[in-house]
């Protein structure tokens, strides 16, 4: 996108038109991404009669704030939110613990077979999900874990390969001098992890928290396969059943959808610099 100038056109006007064109393209694309959000919000604030007006009202009048309360009366939406929040919390704890321990092991110890195991870890990133889905379900079913949160939480304590890889790369960039200095001072390997490596790795662990949060909050297939009891449903799973419950009340459904979107999108807006940087570099390295 380097600014070019030809001899015949004055510099100013060429720049000006280039800018106008850039903004035009930016806005056009933004419409595609933002209009559905607009439709969601405006529908969530409409009364049932306004819903089926033709042409549709651009701004609902009056605002039907009561839709947001009605959602909680029609379905146990509060319960779904608590369930999702619980799963997110446990998964975040599990991933942070597991990824930092495992990444520390891979980046700071010399042990027999380490490099082969690390290659295996990378290879598991390519294991197709569909192949392990059925046998994992059989395993958890035989353990009697179906319709509990165990299949949706325990795996987090074993660390996701992608996140371990990310944290390990980061830990590899922390100079070994720090470890050695601490060792001379008589620190144990545990102390080095908790007092030195763990604090320095905070930026990447924040990324682990964000990825895990969004993954678990948004997950649909896991809860769908493992949970039967509606009181155990997560937000995503609850939404999909809300839909067919009555002849769809779109205004209430959109209010619920909006609430489901708020946590991941807020998180994204708060942490976007770090998040987009992390994704970009992970993408390029991958």
């Amino acid at each position: 996108m380097a600014a070019t100038t030809s001899q015949h056109t004055p510099r100013f006007s060429l720049h000006f038109w280039r800018k106008v064109r850039n903004y035009a393209v930016l806005v056009l694309l933004a419409l595609f991404f933002m209009v559905p959000f607009y439709a969601m919000v405006s529908t969530a604030l409409k009364t049932e009669e306004q819903l089926f007006q033709i042409p549709p009202a651009w701004i609902p009048h009056p605002f039907a704030w009561e839709n947001f309360i009605q959602v909680f009366k029609e379905v146990p939406f509060g319960r779904f939110i608590l369930n999702s929040a619980f799963l997110v919390t446990v998964n975040v704890i599990g991933q942070v613990l597991a990824t930092s321990l495992v990444a520390y092991g891979f980046s700071r110890f010399r042990f027999w077979g380490r490099d082969v195991l690390f290659v295996i870890l990378l290879a598991t990133l390519m294991i197709p999900k569909q192949v392990v889905l059925v046998p994992q379900f059989i395993l958890f079913a035989k353990l009697g874990w179906v319709n509990t949160y165990l299949p949706l939480t325990v795996p987090a304590f074993m660390g996701s390969a992608f996140l371990i890889f990310m944290v390990r790369q980061y830990m590899m960039s922390i100079p070994l001098d720090l470890d050695e200095a601490a060792m001379i001072d008589g620190a144990s390997r545990w102390q080095i992890l908790w007092r030195i490596i763990f604090p320095i790795s905070t930026p990447i662990l924040v990324l682990v928290v964000i990825f895990t949060f969004v993954d678990v909050w948004n997950d649909f297939m896991g809860p769908l396969i493992y949970l039967n009891d509606p009181l155990k449903f997560t937000v995503s799973l609850g939404l999909s059943f809300f839909q067919g419950a009555k002849s769809t009340s779109w205004h209430l459904l959109m209010a619920a959808v909006m609430m489901a979107m708020i946590p991941p999108i807020t998180l994204f807006l708060i942490a976007q610099k770090r998040l987009l940087g992390g994704i970009a570099s992970a993408g390029i390295k991958g």
Binding site: N22, L29, F33, A39, P56, Q130, M158, F220, S236, L276
Partner: protein, 312 residues
């Protein structure tokens, strides 16, 4: 590799180690043990098990019955839903992959312009990607509502009678494409990072040679970006073959099986009909298909992917 000592068996080598080295080995294993346990029980075990299960008839409750190749035989000769699922998935991939690549690239190029406020647009483009897929699907079901949805309302402005979208077997698959394309921000960000890695001096040189914007795009941007395009294409391809949530929520595979994605078919076999063996066989076939397609892209990449490092 000159003086390899006579091979010592590992046990002996272990005995010869100092206590400190032994401790180092053990500690290493201790730290990676969470992943190691997970690998054995959640990945390696299941992969091996899945392979054997695919030769059985098993509804989980009873014992598995060994049926040899019968599942595979049946899939390839007598299963019309398998053919339909393949058709749907390939048809979707055929239209969706070019569309998503063009849209993601355009978004990335737009975001790469050095104008004020571009950060806000970047957030706008990326936001839908963060939304839960179920939520995104429901929003688009409303957008695509034949009577009250915004898409058909907007088509009405220019005098077009919008189709029935998700209710019509001819258009349902294209309706679902909107949901996928809405989340294109994820790929766009990766393209953007790729664009920002292209050294400015290449554009300067092209300009000195009198290249116009299009020529710069064609001869500098595209070749320099081709490794990124390759990477994103493979990821998107795998994603398409695992499409599940959108069709499960929006159409349930209908109308008339026109959106019966392969993954949805696996789900139906495993969790609706409880045929774990058959579903495992389907999963392995899908894996082989994805593998072949990835290899094809990999082979073709020699023709169109340009690696800067290769020349040096």
């Amino acid at each position: 590799m000159t003086s390899i000592p006579q091979r010592i068996n590992p046990l002996q080598r272990w005995r010869n180690m100092s206590a400190r080295t032994k401790k180092e080995h053990l500690a290493g294993y201790l730290f990676i043990s969470p992943w190691l346990i997970g690998f054995v029980f959640l990945i390696a075990g299941p992969v091996i098990m899945s392979f054997f299960v695919s030769f059985t008839r098993w509804n989980i409750v009873g014992d598995p019955h060994w049926v040899g190749l019968r599942n595979y035989h049946r899939i390839f000769t007598a299963d019309r839903n398998f053919v339909q699922a393949l058709k749907v998935t390939f048809r979707y991939a055929f239209f969706y992959l070019p569309l998503t690549t063009v849209l993601a690239l355009s978004a990335a190029l737009a975001l790469n312009a050095k104008v004020r406020g571009v950060g806000i647009f970047r957030s706008f483009y990326y936001m839908p990607y963060m939304a839960p897929q179920v939520a995104a699907t429901l929003v688009w079901m409303w957008m695509l509502n034949p009577r009250y949805g915004l898409i058909n309302v907007m088509l009405g402005w220019i005098g077009i009678q919008g189709p029935n979208w998700l209710n019509d077997p001819k258009t349902a698959l294209f309706g679902l494409m909107f949901i996928g394309l809405w989340g294109v921000g994820g790929s766009a960000i990766i393209y953007l990072a790729g664009l920002q890695n292209i050294p400015q001096h290449l554009y300067d040189a092209a300009e000195v040679d009198g290249a116009n914007t299009w020529q710069q795009f064609r001869h500098v941007t595209l070749p320099m970006l081709s490794p990124t395009i390759f990477y994103v294409l493979v990821i998107e391809l795998i994603g398409v073959f695992q499409t599940f949530t959108t069709s499960f929520v929006a159409t349930g595979g209908g109308p008339m099986k026109s959106t019966l994605f392969y993954m949805l078919y696996i789900y139906n076999k495993a969790w609706v009909s409880l045929r774990m063996g058959y579903a495992s066989a389907l999963a392995w076939i899908l894996t082989v298909i994805i593998l072949i397609l990835t290899l094809l892209i990999l082979k073709s990449s020699a023709l169109w992917v340009h690696y800067e490092a290769e020349k040096k």
